[in-house]
Amino acid sequence: MSEHAAALQAGHADHEHPRMAHHFESLAVQKDAASLGMWLFLAQEIMFFGGLFFAYALYRNLYHGAFVAGSQLLDWKLGAFNTAVLIGSSLTMAMAVHAAALGKRKQIVGYLLGTILLGTLFLGVKVVEYREKFHHNLVPGESFGLPYEGLDPHHAIPESQRAPLQMYFSLYFAMTGLHALHMIVGIPILAGLCWFAWHGEYSARFHTPVEMVGLYWHFVDIVWIFLFPLLYLIA
Protein backbone atom coordinates (compact mmCIF):
# COMPACT_ATOMS: atom_id res chain seq x y z
CA MET A 1 0.00 0.00 0.00
CA SER A 2 1.34 3.42 -0.90
CA GLU A 3 1.96 5.96 1.82
CA HIS A 4 -0.90 8.13 0.60
CA ALA A 5 -3.37 5.24 0.62
CA ALA A 6 -2.27 4.35 4.15
CA ALA A 7 -2.79 7.96 5.26
CA LEU A 8 -6.24 7.96 3.65
CA GLN A 9 -7.19 4.78 5.47
CA ALA A 10 -6.04 6.28 8.78
CA GLY A 11 -8.14 9.32 7.90
CA HIS A 12 -11.23 7.15 7.40
CA ALA A 13 -10.70 5.60 10.85
CA ASP A 14 -10.39 9.14 12.26
CA HIS A 15 -13.74 10.11 10.77
CA GLU A 16 -15.41 7.84 13.30
CA HIS A 17 -13.99 10.06 16.08
CA PRO A 18 -16.62 12.40 17.63
CA ARG A 19 -14.18 15.37 17.73
CA MET A 20 -13.16 15.01 14.08
CA ALA A 21 -14.47 17.81 11.85
CA HIS A 22 -15.61 16.45 8.47
CA HIS A 23 -13.58 18.86 6.37
CA PHE A 24 -10.22 17.54 7.61
CA GLU A 25 -8.46 14.55 6.12
CA SER A 26 -7.37 13.15 9.47
CA LEU A 27 -7.02 14.01 13.16
CA ALA A 28 -3.33 14.75 12.60
CA VAL A 29 -4.16 17.32 9.92
CA GLN A 30 -6.85 18.78 12.17
CA LYS A 31 -4.32 19.17 15.00
CA ASP A 32 -1.80 20.88 12.70
CA ALA A 33 -4.51 23.35 11.66
CA ALA A 34 -5.34 24.05 15.30
CA SER A 35 -1.65 24.65 16.13
CA LEU A 36 -1.33 27.03 13.21
CA GLY A 37 -4.38 29.00 14.36
CA MET A 38 -3.09 29.08 17.93
CA TRP A 39 0.28 30.40 16.77
CA LEU A 40 -1.41 33.13 14.74
CA PHE A 41 -3.25 34.13 17.92
CA LEU A 42 0.04 34.09 19.84
CA ALA A 43 1.72 36.22 17.14
CA GLN A 44 -1.02 38.78 17.80
CA GLU A 45 -0.39 38.45 21.54
CA ILE A 46 3.31 39.16 20.99
CA MET A 47 2.34 42.45 19.33
CA PHE A 48 -0.17 43.15 22.11
CA PHE A 49 2.56 42.94 24.76
CA GLY A 50 5.12 44.38 22.33
CA GLY A 51 3.61 47.86 22.50
CA LEU A 52 4.08 47.89 26.27
CA PHE A 53 7.62 46.57 25.98
CA PHE A 54 8.43 49.35 23.54
CA ALA A 55 6.94 51.99 25.85
CA TYR A 56 9.08 50.50 28.61
CA ALA A 57 12.25 50.67 26.49
CA LEU A 58 11.57 54.28 25.53
CA TYR A 59 10.81 55.61 29.00
CA ARG A 60 13.57 53.61 30.64
CA ASN A 61 15.94 55.30 28.21
CA LEU A 62 14.52 58.74 29.00
CA TYR A 63 14.26 58.36 32.80
CA HIS A 64 16.93 55.84 33.63
CA GLY A 65 17.45 57.14 37.17
CA ALA A 66 13.77 56.84 38.06
CA PHE A 67 13.60 53.31 36.65
CA VAL A 68 16.56 52.21 38.78
CA ALA A 69 14.92 53.79 41.85
CA GLY A 70 11.56 52.20 41.02
CA SER A 71 13.11 48.79 40.48
CA GLN A 72 14.73 48.99 43.91
CA LEU A 73 11.30 49.55 45.48
CA LEU A 74 10.28 46.07 44.26
CA ASP A 75 11.26 42.92 46.13
CA TRP A 76 13.45 40.96 43.68
CA LYS A 77 13.25 37.89 45.94
CA LEU A 78 9.48 37.70 45.43
CA GLY A 79 10.04 38.22 41.69
CA ALA A 80 12.63 35.44 41.53
CA PHE A 81 10.38 33.14 43.56
CA ASN A 82 7.50 33.80 41.18
CA THR A 83 9.76 33.16 38.17
CA ALA A 84 10.61 29.73 39.59
CA VAL A 85 6.91 29.06 40.33
CA LEU A 86 5.89 29.95 36.78
CA ILE A 87 8.67 27.87 35.20
CA GLY A 88 7.51 25.00 37.43
CA SER A 89 3.95 25.48 36.18
CA SER A 90 5.24 25.36 32.59
CA LEU A 91 6.88 22.01 33.41
CA THR A 92 3.64 20.56 34.85
CA MET A 93 1.77 21.90 31.80
CA ALA A 94 4.25 20.23 29.44
CA MET A 95 3.87 17.03 31.47
CA ALA A 96 0.07 17.25 31.19
CA VAL A 97 0.42 17.39 27.39
CA HIS A 98 2.85 14.47 27.59
CA ALA A 99 0.38 12.44 29.68
CA ALA A 100 -2.38 13.33 27.20
CA ALA A 101 -0.26 12.12 24.26
CA LEU A 102 0.05 8.79 26.07
CA GLY A 103 -3.66 8.78 26.95
CA LYS A 104 -3.10 8.59 30.71
CA ARG A 105 -6.30 10.08 32.09
CA LYS A 106 -5.43 10.45 35.79
CA GLN A 107 -1.97 11.83 35.04
CA ILE A 108 -3.45 14.55 32.80
CA VAL A 109 -5.77 15.64 35.61
CA GLY A 110 -2.95 15.51 38.18
CA TYR A 111 -0.55 17.62 36.14
CA LEU A 112 -3.29 20.10 35.22
CA LEU A 113 -4.20 20.49 38.90
CA GLY A 114 -0.49 21.06 39.63
CA THR A 115 -0.42 23.78 36.96
CA ILE A 116 -3.52 25.45 38.46
CA LEU A 117 -1.99 25.29 41.94
CA LEU A 118 1.30 26.89 40.83
CA GLY A 119 -0.55 29.52 38.76
CA THR A 120 -2.66 30.43 41.79
CA LEU A 121 0.43 30.61 43.99
CA PHE A 122 1.97 33.05 41.48
CA LEU A 123 -1.13 35.25 41.60
CA GLY A 124 -1.15 35.06 45.41
CA VAL A 125 2.39 36.43 45.56
CA LYS A 126 1.33 39.14 43.12
CA VAL A 127 -1.52 40.10 45.48
CA VAL A 128 0.99 40.47 48.34
CA GLU A 129 3.21 42.66 46.13
CA TYR A 130 0.35 44.82 44.85
CA ARG A 131 -1.07 45.32 48.36
CA GLU A 132 2.30 46.58 49.61
CA LYS A 133 2.43 49.07 46.73
CA PHE A 134 -1.04 50.34 47.63
CA HIS A 135 0.01 50.79 51.27
CA HIS A 136 3.20 52.58 50.23
CA ASN A 137 1.41 55.03 47.92
CA LEU A 138 3.19 53.67 44.86
CA VAL A 139 0.10 53.12 42.73
CA PRO A 140 -0.19 55.80 40.00
CA GLY A 141 -2.78 58.41 40.91
CA GLU A 142 -3.43 61.40 43.16
CA SER A 143 -1.60 60.04 46.20
CA PHE A 144 1.38 58.68 44.28
CA GLY A 145 4.68 59.12 46.12
CA LEU A 146 3.15 60.79 49.18
CA PRO A 147 4.61 59.81 52.56
CA TYR A 148 2.76 57.03 54.38
CA GLU A 149 2.64 55.99 58.01
CA GLY A 150 5.82 54.28 59.17
CA LEU A 151 7.95 55.65 56.32
CA ASP A 152 11.55 56.48 57.17
CA PRO A 153 11.77 60.22 56.23
CA HIS A 154 15.13 59.53 54.56
CA HIS A 155 13.33 57.37 52.03
CA ALA A 156 10.64 59.92 51.22
CA ILE A 157 10.33 60.52 47.49
CA PRO A 158 11.35 64.09 46.53
CA GLU A 159 8.64 65.93 44.68
CA SER A 160 10.77 66.33 41.53
CA GLN A 161 11.11 62.53 41.35
CA ARG A 162 7.41 61.74 41.60
CA ALA A 163 6.51 62.20 37.92
CA PRO A 164 9.25 59.99 36.40
CA LEU A 165 8.83 57.40 39.17
CA GLN A 166 5.11 57.34 38.46
CA MET A 167 5.97 56.54 34.84
CA TYR A 168 7.92 53.48 36.01
CA PHE A 169 5.08 52.28 38.24
CA SER A 170 2.46 52.91 35.53
CA LEU A 171 4.40 50.56 33.27
CA TYR A 172 4.98 48.12 36.15
CA PHE A 173 1.24 47.84 36.81
CA ALA A 174 0.25 47.83 33.14
CA MET A 175 2.73 45.08 32.23
CA THR A 176 2.39 42.83 35.28
CA GLY A 177 -1.37 43.52 35.34
CA LEU A 178 -1.88 42.46 31.73
CA HIS A 179 0.29 39.41 32.40
CA ALA A 180 -1.73 38.54 35.54
CA LEU A 181 -4.95 39.01 33.56
CA HIS A 182 -3.74 36.37 31.12
CA MET A 183 -3.22 33.99 34.03
CA ILE A 184 -6.64 34.81 35.50
CA VAL A 185 -8.11 33.88 32.11
CA GLY A 186 -5.92 30.77 31.85
CA ILE A 187 -6.73 29.19 35.20
CA PRO A 188 -10.50 28.65 34.60
CA ILE A 189 -9.65 27.26 31.16
CA LEU A 190 -7.26 24.80 32.83
CA ALA A 191 -10.05 23.88 35.26
CA GLY A 192 -12.34 23.19 32.29
CA LEU A 193 -9.67 20.95 30.74
CA CYS A 194 -9.43 19.10 34.07
CA TRP A 195 -13.17 18.43 34.01
CA PHE A 196 -13.11 17.09 30.45
CA ALA A 197 -9.93 15.09 31.05
CA TRP A 198 -11.49 13.48 34.12
CA HIS A 199 -14.47 12.42 32.00
CA GLY A 200 -12.20 10.72 29.49
CA GLU A 201 -12.49 13.29 26.70
CA TYR A 202 -8.78 13.16 25.79
CA SER A 203 -6.88 10.20 24.44
CA ALA A 204 -3.62 9.46 22.65
CA ARG A 205 -5.52 10.01 19.38
CA PHE A 206 -7.24 13.25 20.35
CA HIS A 207 -5.93 15.73 22.92
CA THR A 208 -5.64 18.90 20.84
CA PRO A 209 -7.29 21.18 23.48
CA VAL A 210 -4.69 20.20 26.09
CA GLU A 211 -1.90 21.04 23.63
CA MET A 212 -3.45 24.38 22.61
CA VAL A 213 -3.99 25.56 26.19
CA GLY A 214 -0.41 24.43 26.82
CA LEU A 215 0.80 26.79 24.07
CA TYR A 216 -1.09 29.67 25.70
CA TRP A 217 0.28 28.87 29.15
CA HIS A 218 3.88 28.64 27.93
CA PHE A 219 3.47 31.97 26.13
CA VAL A 220 2.41 33.61 29.40
CA ASP A 221 5.53 32.08 30.98
CA ILE A 222 7.71 33.60 28.24
CA VAL A 223 6.28 37.08 28.89
CA TRP A 224 7.24 36.75 32.56
CA ILE A 225 10.74 35.53 31.65
CA PHE A 226 11.26 39.00 30.14
CA LEU A 227 9.30 40.98 32.72
CA PHE A 228 11.30 39.68 35.68
CA PRO A 229 14.76 41.05 34.76
CA LEU A 230 13.33 44.18 33.10
CA LEU A 231 11.21 45.28 36.07
CA TYR A 232 12.89 43.80 39.16
CA LEU A 233 16.58 43.85 38.31
CA ILE A 234 17.53 47.26 36.93
CA ALA A 235 20.97 48.16 38.24
Partner: protein, 109 residues
Protein backbone atom coordinates in the same frame (compact mmCIF):
# COMPACT_ATOMS: atom_id res chain seq x y z
CA UNK B 1 -0.01 9.11 14.43
CA UNK B 2 2.27 11.89 13.29
CA UNK B 3 2.41 12.91 16.94
CA UNK B 4 5.91 13.26 18.30
CA UNK B 5 5.95 12.29 21.96
CA UNK B 6 8.78 14.22 23.60
CA UNK B 7 10.59 12.15 26.27
CA UNK B 8 10.17 13.28 29.89
CA UNK B 9 13.95 13.59 30.17
CA UNK B 10 13.92 16.44 27.62
CA UNK B 11 11.29 18.32 29.64
CA UNK B 12 13.26 17.91 32.85
CA UNK B 13 16.48 19.09 31.20
CA UNK B 14 14.73 22.17 29.78
CA UNK B 15 13.23 22.86 33.22
CA UNK B 16 16.69 22.65 34.84
CA UNK B 17 18.15 24.94 32.15
CA UNK B 18 15.37 27.49 32.79
CA UNK B 19 16.00 27.41 36.55
CA UNK B 20 19.74 27.79 35.96
CA UNK B 21 19.00 30.73 33.66
CA UNK B 22 16.90 32.39 36.36
CA UNK B 23 19.67 31.89 38.92
CA UNK B 24 22.22 33.34 36.49
CA UNK B 25 19.97 36.34 35.78
CA UNK B 26 19.78 37.17 39.50
CA UNK B 27 23.50 36.49 40.00
CA UNK B 28 24.52 38.78 37.15
CA UNK B 29 22.14 41.52 38.35
CA UNK B 30 23.81 41.52 41.79
CA UNK B 31 27.13 42.41 40.15
CA UNK B 32 27.90 45.67 38.44
CA UNK B 33 29.08 44.95 34.92
CA UNK B 34 28.47 48.48 33.68
CA UNK B 35 26.92 48.61 30.23
CA UNK B 36 26.83 44.81 29.98
CA UNK B 37 24.18 44.18 32.65
CA UNK B 38 21.14 44.75 30.45
CA UNK B 39 22.41 42.92 27.32
CA UNK B 40 23.35 39.89 29.45
CA UNK B 41 19.96 39.87 31.21
CA UNK B 42 18.16 40.12 27.85
CA UNK B 43 20.45 37.50 26.30
CA UNK B 44 19.63 34.98 29.05
CA UNK B 45 15.91 35.79 28.72
CA UNK B 46 16.07 35.20 24.94
CA UNK B 47 17.81 31.84 25.44
CA UNK B 48 15.18 30.84 28.03
CA UNK B 49 12.32 31.91 25.76
CA UNK B 50 13.85 29.97 22.84
CA UNK B 51 14.04 26.82 24.98
CA UNK B 52 10.37 27.19 25.96
CA UNK B 53 9.30 27.77 22.33
CA UNK B 54 11.34 24.89 20.89
CA UNK B 55 10.68 22.19 23.49
CA UNK B 56 7.72 23.04 25.75
CA UNK B 57 5.76 24.45 22.81
CA UNK B 58 6.95 21.67 20.46
CA UNK B 59 7.96 24.09 17.69
CA UNK B 60 11.07 21.98 17.09
CA UNK B 61 8.78 19.07 16.13
CA UNK B 62 6.10 21.12 14.35
CA UNK B 63 5.40 21.41 10.61
CA UNK B 64 7.37 24.06 8.70
CA UNK B 65 4.31 26.30 8.38
CA UNK B 66 3.81 26.45 12.16
CA UNK B 67 7.52 27.21 12.61
CA UNK B 68 7.25 30.02 10.08
CA UNK B 69 4.24 31.60 11.81
CA UNK B 70 5.91 31.27 15.22
CA UNK B 71 9.05 32.99 13.91
CA UNK B 72 7.00 35.69 12.16
CA UNK B 73 5.48 36.75 15.49
CA UNK B 74 8.92 37.64 16.79
CA UNK B 75 9.98 39.11 13.43
CA UNK B 76 7.03 41.54 13.52
CA UNK B 77 7.98 42.49 17.08
CA UNK B 78 11.50 43.29 15.84
CA UNK B 79 10.00 45.44 13.06
CA UNK B 80 7.81 47.28 15.57
CA UNK B 81 10.88 48.11 17.64
CA UNK B 82 13.10 48.99 14.69
CA UNK B 83 10.66 51.36 13.02
CA UNK B 84 9.56 53.14 16.20
CA UNK B 85 13.17 53.48 17.42
CA UNK B 86 14.09 55.07 14.09
CA UNK B 87 11.48 57.72 14.79
CA UNK B 88 12.66 58.49 18.31
CA UNK B 89 16.35 58.33 17.41
CA UNK B 90 15.89 60.69 14.47
CA UNK B 91 13.82 63.31 16.30
CA UNK B 92 15.28 66.76 15.96
CA UNK B 93 17.78 65.79 13.26
CA UNK B 94 15.82 67.65 10.57
CA UNK B 95 14.22 70.37 12.65
CA UNK B 96 15.99 70.90 16.00
CA UNK B 97 12.83 72.44 17.44
CA UNK B 98 11.03 69.09 17.42
CA UNK B 99 13.54 67.64 19.89
CA UNK B 100 12.55 70.08 22.61
CA UNK B 101 8.96 69.59 21.59
CA UNK B 102 8.63 66.37 23.50
CA UNK B 103 5.43 66.64 25.48
CA UNK B 104 6.67 64.16 28.08
CA UNK B 105 9.74 66.12 29.09
CA UNK B 106 10.00 65.52 32.86
CA UNK B 107 12.95 66.37 35.04
CA UNK B 108 15.02 63.26 35.78
CA UNK B 109 17.83 63.40 38.28
Amino acid sequence: MSDHVVPVRTYLLVFLALMLGTFLTVYVARHDLGAFNTPIALGIAIVKATLVVLFFMHVKYSPRLTQLVAASGFAFLAMLFAIMLMDYAARGTVNPETRSNQAFQIEDK
